[in-house]
Symmetry: C2
Subunit: 350 residues, 2 copies
């Protein structure tokens, strides 16, 4: 429906305005456009067209006698229609990421860092939430007389430990029984499938050691529960200083940075897409489209990745509205592809 109200020439001019503004960050005037484009139109004509574009809400003037800057609507149009897909050589990153680390958490921190370095914006990456993940293996072992160690491994190859205090030593035979009990009953189950019935049955069979079972189950829930506090890795937040329109008022910048520090807030940006099963694409929030108030002067681009079956997280970039959408989305795509299914592949180098 957008296209109806814009003719070819207006689109060209809008495109020129936005591109120019993305580069310079300054309001762009009619003369600039007249020279910039291959339209061969005088500044006066451009001015008329620009007045129209303003009336239509695609661009706006910060004040009379200044050039025009894109409005949110303008950016939206740009992202949806004007932007070209470039497929640049960011692919190296993939190699880099894979080779440089093994631990998932470190990968994610790396991803955030690389992305920040590459784009000059602030970035965030959420650790996977273990959505619909299944129990693969549970093991209890004696640590000493007072403590036992519980290790839980999921299909997604995520491992969690818990040290559980016990009132009295457990002999090896009992331990073996408990292990068999746990594994035979829980293996292959997703969190949702472990219901009260299963739990009751387990506890009954464990007899006097039912408290240990409770403890283990708590840990299982914690490992796989979706209400687990979401871990978010951020990087390059100080990049936001590079864009005067975000950092002029100091207060604004401070608020923005606080949002990044108080990571729980970012979660709302990010969990939103996680839930929608099918949506695996890339999301763009411009200005007020973002659910976070403090980011109304920014744009946010997010992508959802899926490390393995049911293990998902989000990568996001925050920058000024005039961010280089093409580059950012390219980067996100590449990284998303790198991360997708990373756990399914064998880990060897060759």
């Amino acid at each position: 429906m957008d296209e109806i109200e814009l003719d070819e020439r207006k689109i060209k001019i809008l495109d020129a305005v936005i591109r120019n503004y993305l580069e310079t960050g300054e309001p762009v005037g009619s003369r600039t456009i007249s020279k910039y484009t291959d339209l061969n139109l005088s500044s006066a004509t451009i001015r008329n067209e620009m007045a129209d574009l303003e009336e239509l809400g695609y661009i706006l003037q910060p004040h009379t006698s200044a050039g025009r800057i894109p409005s949110d609507k303008g950016y939206r149009f740009y992202v949806d229609h004007l932007m070209q897909e470039k497929n640049r050589e960011v692919a190296d990153m993939k190699q880099f990421v894979i080779e440089h680390t093994e631990k998932v958490e470190q990968v994610l921190q790396q991803v955030a860092k690389i992305l920040a370095a590459n784009t000059n914006y602030a970035t965030m990456v959420t650790a996977p939430s273990y959505h619909r993940n299944k129990v693969k293996f549970i093991q209890l072992s004696n640590l000493d007389e007072e403590q036992i160690l519980a290790v839980i491994v999921t299909e997604g190859k995520l491992v969690k430990n818990k040290i559980i205090p016990v009132s009295e030593p457990i002999d090896n035979e009992t331990m073996l029984k408990l292990n068999i009990l746990l594994n035979s009953n829980l293996n292959g189950l997703a969190l949702e499938e472990i219901n009260l019935g299963t739990i009751a049955k387990l506890k009954e069979q464990a007899g006097i050691h039912s408290d240990i079972i409770s403890n283990v189950l708590d840990t299982v829930a914690e490992t796989m529960g979706q209400d687990e506090d979401i871990r978010i890795y951020t990087s390059g937040t100080t990049n936001l200083f590079k864009y005067p329109e975000l950092s002029d008022s100091t207060e604004k910048a401070s608020e923005l940075l606080s949002t990044f520090e108080e990571k729980q807030q970012l979660a709302s940006l990010v969990t939103e897409n996680l839930l929608e099963e099918e949506n695996t694409g890339i999301q763009v929030y411009i200005g007020n489209e973002s659910p976070i108030q403090t980011m109304k002067d920014c744009s946010v681009v997010t992508a959802t990745y899926e490390l393995g079956e049911g293990i998902r997280g989000t990568i996001g970039i925050v920058g000024p509205k005039r961010m280089d959408y093409e580059k950012v989305m390219d980067n996100l795509k590449v990284l998303k592809n790198s991360l997708d299914g990373i756990l399914d592949k064998p880990k060897g180098q060759t």
Copy 2:
């Protein structure tokens, strides 16, 4: 040697200047002091004394016809001699910290947060480095045909996992042997004690499975190695915006924040004290005394804690030179005491 050059009255005046400046952040003039103190001296007298203090290097003038502000030397004197020990009711924190979490890493993040909220400065807390820590327990288990899980527990109750790929399945009997082999040879050893001899012996006894042993040993080294990348938790970094003298130039602030983000840099601040065995006190770096260049306009206060035998980390606070040293040091002391030996105590609630 400081005391020699300062008589009673000069000290009182210096004290007044510093305290006043700590409160207001503005250069303080002679008239203010004359009213502030119980010395009952006119501003003119104060002026003379202040001129002396300036000549001695304890205070300085930002420009002619402005009041005086403390120099680094002045702050140093204040911290060393003037400051009173207050013992306030920060003790609640201890309870709070302990009750609200069990996992060490979360405790530390909490500590950083609380400290930041309490002091209004930027804070950082390093995760423990497992200095002289010992192996307590190692266990290998079959995950599936291609992978085994190694779990390593140290005396400090830190647990680490690694998934190790194997070329062919290991039967249970072999696994048992490997477990016994590892535990009987490594238990109770510190990292430094696992030398080439031990390793060679282990590998020999493991026969065809020596590659697994190598892998496990790698993980052990990683768990306990002191060259492990140091984890640092920061909080309240945006607090630094509250102090104009740090954030006026925007560039300065940006640089400072970058330092906080690039956490590796902070390590130098923090590892310094870790090595000195006996030093368990509180360190104060004023301005250029800090090893980090970007912090030359700040003061840094650090404290080293010891969770348990040989497991140490550092808590630090970064703020403007005119920070409330008393409060900060109080807070650090309390927190340090809370953390000290936390792992030695039983974990039960009562």
